[in-house]
């Protein structure tokens, strides 16, 4: 199961499993983001390269106008995926 929603403070909350079958759903929401936003990973259990691609694409689009995505609250296994792909050097990742 995967869930993505915008919180009242404008942050984006991810939950469950962000796999290749969820790309269209996630892309639709990230397309609505302008400026900068924080993405909350606290309830995200799994991400694959498909999910990384959506995040990287959104981050690149926002960076063209001075914005960015900031990622927070990753579990260790999810963070490992960012580390192996070296996306931890591209995104600002914070614990909480």
């Amino acid at each position: 199961m995967f869930d993505i929603r915008k919180a009242d403070d404008g942050s984006i909350i991810l939950a469950g499993r962000f796999d290749a079958s969820q790309v269209a759903t996630a892309q639709a929401l990230f397309d609505t983001v302008a400026g900068s936003a924080t993405v909350d990973f606290t309830a995200l259990e799994y991400i694959s390269s498909a999910g990384l691609g959506v995040l990287l694409g959104a981050h690149k689009r926002l960076s063209e106008t001075g914005g960015k995505l900031k990622l927070r609250g990753m579990k260790k296994l999810v963070r490992d995926v960012f580390r192996y792909s070296r996306l931890d050097t591209i995104f600002e990742i914070v614990d909480t």
């Binding site: 499993r17 079958s21 691609g53 694409g57 960076s63």
Partner: protein
């Protein structure tokens, strides 16, 4: 355990259920289960994306051989594509030069211990081994 899945991205839900069933039966820990999910998803979705004209179903087999987890996917009626010789993903580039996609095989290479590719009779057979610690 072996099961065949329709060549479509929406097969993933059934695939993950199959993987979880195997993980529970074998008592695999969270870390190994994550690797198994990622390996199978990346390989399966590559087959869906790059060989749409291949056989309608893709068999996935999972076995435990002592301290090794063996994952095997067979892609029938496809052209040869040796994943062990695939171009490396450029993970050192700055943001403006990095492109979404292409990270799947890179991740697999980081997370597993052996990758074997065989091509015979128009079929690609990919075998991945993950050593089980502890």
């Amino acid at each position: 355990m072996e099961k065949h899945f329709r060549r479509a991205t929406n097969s993933l839900e059934g695939i993950f259920a199959f993987l979880q069933e195997f993980a529970s039966a074998e008592g695999l820990d969270e870390s190994v289960t994550y690797v198994m999910n990622l390996v199978v998803e990346e390989l399966f979705t590559n087959m869906v994306k790059h060989s749409p004209g291949g056989a309608a179903e893709i068999p996935i087999s999972l076995t435990r051989e002592g301290r090794k987890l063996v994952m095997r996917l067979v892609d029938r009626d496809v052209d040869e594509f040796d994943i062990t010789r695939a171009k490396k993903a450029s993970t050192d580039l700055p943001l403006e030069q990095r492109k979404p996609g292409g990270l799947g095989l890179h991740l697999i290479k980081h997370m597993v211990d052996e990758i074997d590719y065989q091509y015979k009779d128009n079929s690609s057979v990919i075998t991945i081994i993950k050593e089980l610690k502890g």
